[in-house]
Structures are given as C-alpha cells and as structure tokens.
Amino acid sequence: MANPQLNSGNPRVDIEYRRKKSAEEMRHQVVSFALMIFLTLIAFAAVAMKGFSAWFIVPFIILLAIVQVIFQLYYFMHMSHKGHEAPSLFLYSGVLVGAVTVLAFSTIIWW
C-alpha cells in the first residue's frame, strides 16, 4: 500500500508540512521500536524469574505478542494511515475466524 501523503512527488504538498509529518512518523517508529524491545525483555524476564507458574507466563507472553503485532502493523506497516480499509477489514475478519476456531477447539474438543 502506498503512503501518499508522505512520499508523494506532488510539488503542491507543502514541504514544511511533509517534513513535520515525517518527523512525527519517525518519532512514532522510534518510540514503538523501543517499546517492542522493552516488551521482549519483559517476556524473557517472565520466563527467567523464579516464582511464576506456567499458567501465568504463557497467557502473559501471548498478550505481549499481540501488543507487538499491533505495533508492527500500525507503526511499521502503516496501517494507521488512510487507504488501508480493505487490508484491515480482511485482517480483522481473519482474526475473527481464527479466534472462533481456537475458542471452539479449546472449549468443546480439548476441555
């Protein structure tokens, strides 16, 4: 997906505005990158530290993973920008179908 408001070659787009937008974009990426490193460290720490049961650690790490995926999609793959309606529709539909499957398997087959 293109990212028209930032990288378009259109000379009519105000250069100052574009520069400001890019700077903001960069800041978001750096912040989310730092957060992702931090979350990864927490995940390792959760396993390394004694005293937590597996029943806490596994859901906790899965939760961190979900947060990371959201960061990845929205800040690095530009899903927060306009023009991504179709990809997000299909992403969320897929997540829904997958979630229903997992829910069904975990409720009526395995437990």
């Binding site: 539909s93 897929g94 179908v97 009526i108």
Partner: protein, 624 residues
C-alpha cells in the same frame, strides 16, 4: 479483434488455450473441465440410482458403491460445481466491473491448471487400485482404516486443486478491490460481482482449514503420524471440525454465486431494477459472515454437549433471516415487472420454491434435538440435494444459457433450453422429493442396498426414474451446445435485449482487451442507464490510448504438472517403492524450476498501440 478472428489450426488453438492468461479463455477452460467432471459425477449418480432402484440389487458391490458415492460427492462439489462457478466468475466479473482482465492473469491460469491436475489426479484413482471410499467428508475414523490408496488420492488431489481455488479466490478479491472502472463504487457493483467478492473472501478464510486438515491426514496416512489415531492419543473429532470449518463456508461458496446469477436474471427479465439492492448486498455479506459460525451443526450427534449444540442450532437458524430477505427481494423484483419467460428465467422462477423447500428442511435439521432423528437418513440427502441442485445446479444451467452468447458469441436454442429445463425440473423433484419420506421412514444414507418388504421399494424406484429425466435433460443440453456451435449464428452486444450491466455493452465475445476505453459508470445497472437515455453504448472515461497486456505463458501448466508428478511419488511412498522419493524430487524440481524461471525472467507484457485499436474500428465498420 481482426487479427485474432482468423482461422487457426487445431494445434495452434490448443497451444493458445494451454498458454492463455486471458480471463475469458480461462473461463472457457473452467467451463469445459467443470462440465466434463459434471458429466462424470452425473454418471456416478446414475450408477447409485441404478443400484438402489430395486431391493437386494447386485449391480455394484458394497465396496464399489462406497467408492461411487464418495467420488460422486467429491467430484460434484470440488470438480464440477466450484469450477463451473469459477467459469462464470472469470467470464463475467471483470466485464461487470469494467476491467481489462483480473489483477494477476498469470496466477489465474495457474489456479486453473492446479485445479485441473488435482481433479485428474483424483479421478485417476479409478485406474490405480481403487477410488476413495470414506465418503466425501472422509471422516478420519473411516479414512484411517481405508485399505488401498483411495484416501491418499483424495488427500493429495484435493490439496492440489484446493491450492488452485485459493489463489483463484485471492485473485478475484484483488481484482474487485483495485480494478473497478471509474465511477464503479462498491454500491454500484452488480450483484453477481458482489457475490463473487464475498465468495472469494469465504474461499480465503475457508480453504486454509481444509489445507491443514488434509496435511494432518496426509502425515497420518503416509508418514506415520497419529493426529487422528485415538489408540495413540490422537483425536478423530479434530478432522470433523477442521473439515466442517471449511465445509460449511464451502456450501456458501457454491450458493452465493448462484444467488448472484439469479439476481442478474430476475432484474434482466423482469425489466426492472433489482428490488432492495442494498439489502441484497447486506444479506450476502451477512450470510458470508454467519457461514463461519455454524459448522458444528453437521456434528450435532458427535456429542458436543447441549450448550454447544444449542449455540450452533440458534446460529444456524439465524441464517434463514438474510436468506429470507433475498427470497422476498427476488419476488418483489418480479412483482410489477414485465416478466419475459426465457430459459434462464424458467430456472430462476423454479429456483425459488425448490430452494425454499431445501431451506425449510435446513431449519428442521438445525434443531439439534430433532436432528438426532434425521441424522444419517435420506432426509439429509434430500435436504442437501434440494439446496445444491435446486440452488447451485439450477443457477449453473441458467447461467450457461444466459452467458453462452457472451462467452461464445452464439445463442443456445431457446426451445431446446426449455425442454432441458422441464426435463431437469421434473426429474429433480421426482428424484429428491420422495427421499424426504424415505428418510423419515428410516432409510439410512450411504447403504448400498436394502431388503424387500420394508416399504422402500416403490419410493426408491420413483427416485431412480427421476434420475432418468435429469440424464435426458443433460443430453438435450449437450445436443443443444453442439447444434448451436455447428450453426454458429453470431449475435451482437446485447442478444437478450435486456442487458443491464457492463458486460452487455461489449461485443459477444468481447475483444481480448475487453474495453478499448474504460467506461464511465454513472450508477447501478450502468448499461441500462445509458440505454434509457437513448445512447448506443457507454460513455468512455479515458481517451483511446495504448493498452498494456500480459504475455501468454506455458509456465502455469508446467508448475501444476510438477505437483501432479510429485503427488504420485508421495502416494506410493508408503509402499516402500524405491522410485517414490526420486519421483517426488523430480516433480518438485519441475514445479520450483518453473517458478524460479518465472521469478528471474522479466516478462513485461506487450502494448496494443493506439493505431491498432483505431484499425480495429475500421475493420468492424466494413464487416457490419
């Protein structure tokens, strides 16, 4: 078109079709291959009805009967209904949205060849020690115990053809999202395009579970894993879930395009705008969505427990609501319209009561408590044949008559078409209506024979006689096709005279680039709008310019063929044949080699220059 209308030899034509990436030619390939498998599946159905016509019959043995019912179901669903639906999607959808081709023409061809080789592989099982015999659902407890290679053919064949379907569906999605003509907003898309869109989304989400299920079964059967082997800690019910998470959306993958075709027919031949267009779109999307929430209604008697059964029962009944919206919209489209009873319209009108009958038994089956009584009886057989034949097959036959002129440039004979319709309509109800009662009287499905004196004789005989009518109908249709092709009377843009959507604004068949200038779409039923304002054709949205076209390629055929070869190696691997691993490697080398060639060799396609397009215009002037 002039340069392409010249007579070509048989070899050149064959090579043209083997290498084509044109969506219209791929549609014809799908139609021929799907029609061929439809005839094979139909013959299997006839054998079933011959065997069951009289009690204690020994026309086929019990084992062969199991193979025939399995192959009948599998062939009809995967190799006949789906490709025929794909044929119309390929032929019509790009024209309806005003596109010059699908988004990925090469991938489109690859999808066809994967389906084709998968289908051929599956049917070759008849000649190599036995066809699959575990039912089209291939439940793991049966499939694991099946002797011979039948189930392996099923697993590998469906895996290959399923790949083809999946990439075909993705292709349609990308096409509809990105390649609509100027002015063709989502809410101006014809309903057949809408149903193609929702169907493709269902394919995208439904086929991965099937792929996973087939991979697990392949490992169980061929490489000694134990996913479904209960004695080794596996769970056979997992297959049922995976299969039906795919299988239930699959039936909507079949029926939604049928709804789309009928929506076009009702609007065209009632000479009226489709009643409640936006509610039709809403209902289509809602059916697609709910289709993923109901799979366990196929498994009520598996022992899921009352809570799960209740949830899935209610969800299933909810699907009746959007379907009901559609039925009423079709009725109200006809109401007050100036209805013209052409062959397609015959099918459309007959579809409503037939499909509603199937829907009503569907709601009956959805009540989990009652389902314990209906389960595995002929009542279920009657139900799903009412929805699939009364819905999908009617739509495919109607679509064949409706779109034949657009695909081939000649009209099928209307009288013969109506004879086909009446034979098929009578035969269909004769065969399947009585099966409701057979089921309620206690005849179980999938039995190869029954004893005299149980009250099943007359009804089964009537049912078998109905199959004769349906066979006659198909023979008349084939005769009609041959006679029409031999006469070859060419028709113009809008042979029905009532075309509403963009495809009827083009010559029949359209030139290989479809639109010389992309059309400007000014509303729903774009072509009808222009006609009503006294215009001859669409207003162009762009000046005449060079058109970029993809090159033909033989690689899709080669890629699919490699997998076909590798599948044979995998199949005989469990027999400890020395040649099996080399064959797998050779097959995969062919596939990946062809893919590698495609990746490294740049293929930029070619341009049709403005001057040639102008030349074409002059040619046409002379001919007309």
């Amino acid at each position: 078109m002039s340069t392409y209308a010249q007579k070509k030899g048989f070899g050149a034509t064959l090579w043209d079709y083997l290498t084509t990436v044109d969506h219209k030619k791929i549609a014809i390939l799908y139609l021929i291959a799907g029609g061929f498998f439809f005839v094979i599946g139909g013959l299997e159905a006839v054998f079933i009805r011959i065997q069951l016509a009289v009690p204690n019959n020994d026309f086929v043995s019990a084992g062969l009967f199991n193979e025939i019912i399995t192959m009948h179901g599998t062939t009809m669903i995967f190799l006949a209904a789906m490709p025929l639906v794909f044929a119309f999607m390929n032929a019509i959808m790009p024209l309806q949205i005003g596109a010059r081709d699908v988004a990925f023409p090469f991938v489109n061809a690859l999808g066809f060849w994967l389906f084709f080789f998968g289908g051929v592989f599956l049917n070759l099982s008849w000649f190599f020690d036995g066809a699959p015999d575990a039912g089209w659902t291939s439940y793991a407890s049966l499939a694991m115990a099946s002797k011979g290679h039948g189930v392996d053919f099923y697993v590998l064949g469906l895996q290959i053809s399923g790949l083809g379907t999946l990439i075909g569906g993705i292709n349609f999605l990308v096409t509809i999202i990105n390649m609509r003509a100027p002015g063709m907003t989502y809410m101006r898309m014809p309903l057949f395009t809408w149903s193609t869109f929702v169907t493709s989304a269902l394919i995208l989400f439904a086929f991965p579970p099937l792929t996973v299920g087939l991979v697990l079964m392949m490992f169980d059967r061929m490489f000694g894993s134990n996913f479904f082997e209960t004695s080794m800690g596996g769970n056979t019910v997992i297959w049922e879930h995976l299969f039906w998470i795919f299988g239930h959306p699959e039936v909507y993958i079949l029926i939604l395009p049928a709804f789309g075709i009928f929506s076009e027919i009702f609007a065209m031949f009632s000479r009226k705008r489709l009643f409640g267009y936006s509610s039709m779109v809403f209902a289509t999307v809602l059916i697609g969505f709910l289709g993923f929430m109901v799979w366990a209604h196929h498994m009520f008697t598996t022992g899921l427990g009352p809570v799960a059964n209740a949830i899935f029962a209610v969800a299933t009944m909810a699907i009746g609501v959007p379907t009901g919206i559609k039925i009423f919209n079709w009725l109200l489209t006809m109401w007050g319209g100036s209805v013209k009873f052409t062959t397609p319209m015959h099918y459309a009108v007959a579809f409503i009561p037939s499909f509603v009958a199937g829907g009503v038994t569907g709601v009956m089956l959805a009540s989990a408590a009652a389902d314990y009584q209906y389960h595995d009886t002929y009542f279920v057989v009657a139900h799903f044949h009412y929805v699939i034949v009364g819905g999908v097959v009617f739509a495919l036959l109607a679509g064949t008559h409706l779109y034949w002129p657009k695909m081939f440039g000649t009209m099928l004979n209307e009288t013969l078409g109506k004879i086909t319709f009446w034979l098929f309509f009578i035969g269909f109800h004769m065969t399947f209506f009585i099966q409701h009662f057979l089921g309620l009287w206690g005849m179980p499905r999938r039995v190869f024979t029954y004893l005299p004196g149980q009250g099943f004789e007359t009804s089964n005989l009537i049912s078998s006689l109905g199959a004769v009518f349906m066979s006659l109908a198909v023979i008349v249709l084939l005769y009609n096709i041959i006679a029409t092709s031999v006469k070859n009377v060419r028709v113009g843009n809008d042979p029905w005279g009532d075309g509403r959507t963009l495809e009827w604004a083009l010559p029949s068949p359209p030139p290989f680039y479809n639109f010389k200038q992309l059309p400007l779409v000014r509303g729903l039923d774009a072509y009808w709008l222009e006609k009503m304002e006294g215009k001859k054709g669409m207003t162009p949205a762009e000046p005449v310019g060079d058109i970029h076209m993809p090159n033909a390629s033989f690689l899709p055929f080669v890629i699919a063929f490699g997998l076909f070869v590798a599948a044979f190696g995998a199949l005989y691997h469990m027999d400890d044949k020395a040649w099996s691993v080399p064959v797998i490697i050779i097959g995969l080398l062919i596939t990946f080699g062809a893919m590698f060639l495609r990746s490294v060799k740049d293929d930029h396609g070619f341009h049709i220059h403005k001057e040639e397009l102008m030349e074409d215009d002059k040619d046409k002037g002379v001919k007309a």
